[in-house]
C-alpha cells in the first residue's frame, strides 16, 4: 500500500510563543487568554499566556473589526472629522474555524449594499490566523490556519500572501506528514448538519411562525431580553447611533454602538408605537434574520454553530435544540 | 432664649447640622438633623455576606472603612483569619480611603475658610496649579480604590475571608507609577497646611485612637487614650458610651464618661512614632490641644498614607499575591467585632449571626458620634476664651472649628 506522504510546512507547539513574540514587532497581537475562569480574546502581552484548544470565547473576535462602540465622526465649528484608524496592524491569533467562517460572512455583510468604511478600515489592516484541532477540508477563511496534527505539531495552511509570508519565517519547517483525522470540536454538531441545508432551515422557521408553532410562545416567555445572545454571536451586527454634544459645547460626536434586536426599543418609533411589541416578536425576529432573511440575502444562514448564544444565555435557551425541534416538526408536517 | 447663630445648616460639612448658641447664657449646642436610617435594624435579617454591602452606604465619604469594619466583624464572628495578601490589600484600600476623604475635606471643605474663598472651585481660577495638585491627589486615591476595591465609592470586590477578585500585577505597577508622580503633591499639601493661620485655642483635648503595631489603622486591637487609659477593642461597648439627646438625631459619645477627640490628630498623638519618614518631620509642628490642628494632622496623613501605599504595593509585587478566600472555621463564635480607624477616627462594627448566617444583632459606633461631645465642649471653650469677640466673628470661628473636626453627620446618624 502506498502511503500518501506530503511535504508540508509545520510548526511545533513550543515555538508558537516565540513566533508570536517576533510577529509582535509588526502587529498588535490579539489571542485567546484566560480571565476569571473564562477564555476571552485580548491583547497578548505575554505569549506564554496564550490558550489554545479552548471551547469558545465569550465575545467573538468581531469586537476588533466592529467594536462595541466607535465614533463615526466628530464635528466642531471647523468641520466634520472621521476618526483615522491607523494604529498598528492587528494579528488575531487562535481563531476557531467557525470564527473564521463567521468573519468571512461578516466580510460579505459589511460589503452589502455598500462597504462599511469602519469595518473595512480595520479589516484590511488585520491578519487572521486560525488554530484548530479539526481537520481542515475547505478552509473557511483567514490568512493562515494551523491544524493540529498531534500534541506537538501543527500543520500550516497559508491562504493568502500574508499567510505565506508568516510561514516563510524560521519557526516553520517542511516535513512529511500523514493526513490526520481530526476530532472535530463537538460543539453543536447537530446544528452544524442543519446548516448544510439553509433552505430547509429558512422554510422551517417561516413555517413555524405561520403555523403558530408553540415554540415561539414558549421562547417569548423564557427569553429575558438581556441581549446577550446577539452580543456574543460572531455574526450579529445590529447597531444604533448615539449623538452627543460635549460638556463644553465645542464638539459633536456620533457614535455607533452594538444594539440587540431582542431589546425592547429596537423597533419602537417616536410616539411609542412598537413594531415588535412583544418579546415573542423580538425573539422571532432574531431567528428570522439569521435563518430566513439571511438565507434570502446571502444564500446561507447567519449562524456558524459556534455555540456561544447557547453557552452564555442566562435563560439557557439552546438554539440547536430549538431548531432541531422546529425542523423535525416541519418535516413531519410538510413531508 | 436660645438664638441660632447660623439660621441655616452648617455648610461644607458632610451631613446636616446647625450650631445653636444661647448668647446670654453663653452655651453652644450642636443640633444634628440628619434623618435616621436605622442601619442597625436594616441589617437584622440580612445575610452575613450582605452586611459589608449595606454598611458602606452609611457614608459615601468613608465607605471603605465601613466595608472593612463589617468584613472584619463578620470574619471575627466566623472565626476567619484572612491570609497576608488580603491584609496587605485591605491596608492598601485604607490608604486610598484616607487620602480620598482627607483631600475632599481639606481642599473642598476646609481650605476656603483659610484663604478667603467661598468654594474650592474658585481656587481653580485663582491658583490652577494648586488646584491641579488637589485634583491629582483625588485621582490617585480614587484609582487605588478602583483598583483594589473595584470602585471609588462603595466597594465591589471585597468579601468575607478575602477578595472576590484581586488586582493583577500590571495594574499595581500602574498604581505605583501614578503614586510616584503624585508624591510631590502630597509633600506640598503637608507644607501648605503647615503654613495656614490656624486660630489659637487650648481645648485641653483627650485624644483617642486605635493602636497596634506601627501606624495601624486596619488592625489596631487596643483603644488607646492620650491620658494613658487603654481598653481592648473587645470592651469597646462598655468604654464608649452613647447618649441620646432630644435635640439631635445623632447620639453623643464619650469615653469612660469623658469627652474625647478622635481622628487624624488623635492618631498622630497615639501612633506618631509609626509615621513615615517624610510625614514625621511635619508632625513636630502640631499642637495636640488645638482641634484646629486636626486639619494639619490630616495633611500630614495624606503624606504618610501616600508613602504607605507605595510601600504596600512594592511589598505585594515583591511577595506575590494569593487570592484564596478563607472559609469559616468549625464552630465559630457567631459574635464578632470589627474595628478600624476611619478617616475621622475609630469605627466599631459588631455583628451577631445565626447558624444560617443571618444577622440577629448589629451595633455600629462611628467616629463622629464620639467627636460630637468634644465639638460641643471645644465650641464652649471658644466662646469662653473670646469674651470680646463679636457674634459675627464668633460665628465664623465656630463654624471653622466644627469643620476642623471634619464631622460626618451622615455617619453619626446611621
Amino acid at each position: 500500500m502506498i502511503k500518501n506522504y506530503k511535504m508540508e510546512p509545520v510548526i511545533e507547539r513550543n515555538s508558537i510563543p516565540s513566533l508570536l513574540k517576533i510577529l509582535s514587532s509588526d502587529y498588535s497581537i490579539i489571542a485567546p487568554q484566560e480571565r476569571n475562569g473564562e477564555v476571552v480574546f485580548d491583547d497578548l502581552k505575554d505569549p506564554e499566556c496564550l490558550v489554545l484548544g479552548y471551547k469558545v470565547t465569550i465575545l467573538p473576535p468581531k469586537k476588533y473589526l466592529f467594536p462595541p462602540e466607535e465614533i463615526l465622526f466628530t464635528y466642531s465649528g471647523k468641520g466634520v472629522r472621521t476618526p483615522s484608524i491607523t494604529s498598528k496592524k492587528l494579528l488575531i491569533f487562535g481563531l476557531s474555524l467557525r470564527d473564521l467562517e463567521a468573519i468571512t460572512q461578516l466580510d460579505e455583510i459589511m460589503s452589502t449594499p455598500h462597504p462599511d468604511y469602519f469595518y473595512w478600515k480595520r479589516r484590511s489592516r488585520s491578519i487572521l490566523v486560525g488554530v484548530t484541532d479539526e481537520s481542515v477540508h475547505a478552509p473557511p477563511g483567514g490568512d493562515l490556519i494551523l491544524e493540529r496534527m498531534d500534541d506537538e505539531l501543527y500543520r500550516a495552511i497559508p491562504l493568502t500572501q500574508a499567510g505565506k509570508k508568516i510561514v516563510k519565517g524560521r519557526f516553520f519547517k517542511k516535513q512529511d506528514i500523514l493526513p490526520h483525522k481530526g476530532e472535530g470540536n463537538q460543539v453543536m454538531e447537530e446544528l452544524r448538519k442543519l446548516l448544510l441545508d439553509p433552505e430547509t432551515l429558512a422554510e422551517a422557521v417561516k413555517w413555524s411562525r405561520a403555523e403558530g408553532h408553540p415554540v415561539w410562545e414558549e421562547l417569548g416567555k423564557r427569553c429575558i431580553g438581556c441581549g446577550i445572545c446577539t452580543y456574543v454571536c460572531p455574526i450579529c451586527h445590529c447597531f444604533s447611533m448615539e449623538n452627543s454634544v460635549s460638556l463644553d459645547g465645542s464638539t459633536c460626536t456620533r457614535c455607533r454602538k452594538w444594539d440587540a434586536c431582542t431589546l425592547p426599543g429596537f423597533a419602537r418609533i417616536a410616539g411609542g408605537y412598537d413594531h415588535h411589541p412583544s418579546q415573542k416578536k423580538r425573539y422571532y425576529n432574531w431567528y428570522y434574520h439569521k435563518f430566513v432573511r439571511g438565507y434570502k440575502e446571502y444564500g446561507k444562514s447567519q449562524c456558524v454553530a459556534c455555540g456561544r448564544c447557547q453557552t452564555y444565555c442566562p435563560a439557557r435557551i439552546d438554539i440547536e435544540k430549538e431548531l432541531l425541534g422546529i425542523v423535525k416538526d416541519y418535516r413531519e408536517a410538510c413531508g | 432664649m436660645a438664638k441660632r447663630i447660623s439660621e441655616s445648616l452648617i455648610t461644607k460639612i458632610e451631613g446636616h447640622g446647625s450650631l445653636h448658641v444661647d448668647w446670654e447664657g453663653r452655651k453652644a449646642k450642636l443640633h444634628v438633623v440628619e434623618g435616621e436610617r436605622l442601619f442597625e435594624g436594616i441589617l437584622v435579617g440580612r445575610t452575613a455576606e450582605e452586611v459589608h454591602w449595606i454598611t458602606p452606604r452609611i457614608c459615601g465619604v468613608c465607605p471603605i472603612a465601613h466595608n472593612l469594619a463589617s468584613v472584619k466583624a463578620v470574619e471575627d464572628a466566623l472565626g476567619i483569619i484572612p491570609n497576608p495578601t488580603t491584609v496587605l490589600l485591605r491596608r492598601l484600600m485604607m490608604t486610598g480611603q484616607m487620602i480620598q476623604s482627607h483631600v475632599l475635606h481639606l481642599f473642598f471643605l476646609a481650605l476656603p475658610d483659610y484663604i478667603g474663598l467661598d468654594r474650592a472651585t474658585e481656587l481653580a481660577e485663582k491658583d490652577p496649579k494648586a488646584f491641579g495638585r488637589a485634583l491629582r491627589l483625588k485621582e490617585v486615591s480614587d484609582e487605588i480604590a478602583f483598583c483594589i476595591a473595584g470602585r471609588n465609592v462603595h466597594p465591589t470586590t471585597t468579601t468575607i475571608g478575602g477578595f472576590h477578585k484581586i488586582p493583577d500585577k500590571s495594574s499595581l505597577q500602574r498604581l505605583l507609577r501614578m503614586l510616584e508622580k503624585t508624591s510631590p503633591d502630597a509633600s506640598w499639601t503637608a507644607r501648605l497646611f503647615t503654613s495656614l493661620p490656624y486660630p489659637e485655642l487650648d481645648a485641653d483635648l483627650e485624644l483617642l485612637s486605635l493602636k497596634g503595631d506601627g501606624y495601624s489603622i486596619y488592625d489596631g486591637d487596643t483603644i488607646s487614650s492620650s491620658r494613658n487609659d487603654d481598653t481592648s477593642v473587645k470592651g469597646y461597648k462598655e468604654a464608649i458610651e452613647e447618649e441620646v439627646r432630644e435635640y439631635s438625631t445623632a447620639k453623643f459619645g464619650s469615653y469612660r464618661k469623658r469627652e474625647i477627640m478622635v481622628g487624624a490628630l488623635a492618631r498622630i498623638a497615639i501612633n506618631g512614632k509609626g509615621l513615615g519618614q517624610k510625614a514625621r518631620k511635619f508632625a513636630k509642628s502640631l499642637d495636640l490641644n488645638n482641634p484646629f490642628h486636626n486639619n494639619l494632622a490630616q495633611a500630614i496623613e495624606i503624606l504618610h498614607f501616600h508613602e504607605e501605599a507605595i510601600m504596600l504595593i512594592e511589598k505585594l509585587i515583591e511577595e506575590g499575591m494569593d487570592g484564596t478566600v478563607v472559609r469559616p472555621s468549625i464552630n465559630p463564635p457567631l459574635k464578632g467585632i470589627g474595628a478600624v480607624e476611619a478617616p475621622r477616627g475609630g469605627l466599631y462594627h459588631e455583628v451577631h449571626l445565626r447558624e444560617d448566617g443571618k444577622v440577629t444583632y448589629a451595633n455600629i459606633i462611628t467616629p463622629t458620634v464620639q467627636n460630637l461631645t468634644s465639638i460641643e465642649k471645644s465650641s464652649q471653650t471658644l466662646l469662653d476664651s473670646n469674651p470680646a469677640a463679636s457674634k459675627e466673628e464668633l460665628k465664623r470661628l465656630m463654624e471653622m472649628l466644627v469643620r476642623a473636626y471634619d464631622p460626618c453627620l451622615t455617619c453619626s446618624v446611621h
Partner: protein, 261 residues
C-alpha cells in the same frame, strides 16, 4: 450646534443618605470644572458657603426625603425648579434606607434610641412619592460617565434618555462569567445598563441599583431565579434597592405570592 448663551442656574441638595453621589460629582474633577463653565451652582450646601433659594433651572436631589423638613423642602424645590432630577438610588428609588419600611421603623426607634426618643424620620420613600420628578439618574452610587452624559443632554436642550440595554451588555464586554449560569442570583438582565457592570466585574451580585429597565422581562428572570434561590433570597435581592418600584409591587410580589400558594 446649539448652545445656550446664559448659564443654567443649578441647585444641588442632599436629603438623608450617604452623600456618596456628591462624592462622585467631585470625582468628576476636570469634568466638574468644565461643567461649571456652563452652569452656575447657586446652591450647594456641601460645596459652598453662599447659597440662594430663588429659582433653579435645574435641581439635583440626592438622598431620601425622610424627615418632614426634607419633604417640605422637596415640595418647595419642585415649585422653584424647571427640571428636578433625582440623583442616586436613594432619591430615585428609596435606596438602602428603603429596606426598612414604615411599620418596622417604630420598633427600631425604640431599640436604637429608646422609648423616650421623638423620631424625626417619617418613612424612606423615593422623591417620586411626593413630587413629579423629571429624570432619574440612578445608581448607588451614580456613575461619573452617566452624570456627564445626562448633563450633556440637558445642556444641549435634549430630554435625557434612559438606557435601553441591560447591565449584561457591559458585563459581557468586561468578560465576566455569568452569575446566573453559575447558579448565583443576579438582577443584571432586568436592570438598566450604563453602570459598566461594575459590581459583577468586582465579583458582587447586581442588585439593580440602576433601576429596572424599560419593558424588562421580569417574570422570565424570576423563573430562572426560582431554580437557584428560595423565596426569601429572591425577596432580599429585590428589596435591596427596588422595593418601591412599580415592577416590584406589580410583578415580583404577586409572583412570589403565587409561588407560595
Amino acid at each position: 450646534m446649539q448652545r445656550e448663551a446664559k448659564k443654567l442656574k443649578v441647585g444641588i441638595f442632599d436629603f438623608t443618605d450617604c452623600e456618596g453621589c456628591q462624592v462622585k460629582l467631585v470625582s468628576l474633577r476636570e469634568r466638574l470644572l468644565a461643567l461649571l463653565e456652563r452652569v452656575e451652582i447657586v446652591n450647594w450646601r456641601l460645596g459652598q458657603e453662599k447659597n440662594r433659594m430663588d429659582r433653579f433651572d435645574l435641581v439635583l436631589i440626592e438622598g431620601c426625603p425622610i424627615t418632614q423638613d426634607e419633604i417640605d423642602l422637596l415640595k418647595l424645590l419642585r415649585e422653584r425648579s424647571t427640571h428636578l432630577i433625582g440623583f442616586g438610588t436613594c432619591a430615585t428609588m428609596g435606596g438602602i434606607p428603603a429596606i426598612m419600611d414604615q411599620k418596622e421603623r417604630a420598633k427600631w426607634y425604640n431599640k436604637i434610641y429608646g422609648p423616650q426618643y421623638k423620631p424625626r424620620g417619617i418613612d424612606s420613600l423615593p422623591l417620586t412619592s411626593y413630587v413629579k420628578v423629571d429624570f432619574l439618574i440612578h445608581g448607588c452610587p451614580v456613575d461619573e460617565n452617566e452624570i456627564v452624559r445626562v448633563m450633556e443632554e440637558l445642556l444641549s436642550g435634549k430630554k435625557p434618555a434612559y438606557r435601553g440595554y441591560s447591565v449584561c451588555f457591559q458585563c459581557k464586554l468586561a468578560g465576566n462569567p455569568c452569575r446566573l449560569i453559575n447558579g448565583k442570583p443576579c438582577l443584571g438582565p432586568v436592570t438598566q445598563g450604563g453602570c459598566g457592570a461594575i459590581c459583577v466585574s468586582g465579583g458582587s451580585p447586581c442588585y439593580g441599583c440602576f433601576g429596572i429597565r424599560d419593558t424588562a422581562q421580569i417574570e422570565g428572570l424570576l423563573d430562572i431565579l426560582k431554580g437557584m434561590a428560595d423565596k426569601e433570597e429572591i425577596e432580599r435581592y429585590f428589596t435591596m434597592f427596588l422595593r418601591y418600584t412599580k415592577e416590584y409591587n406589580e410583578i415580583v410580589r404577586p409572583f412570589m405570592e403565587r409561588e407560595n400558594g
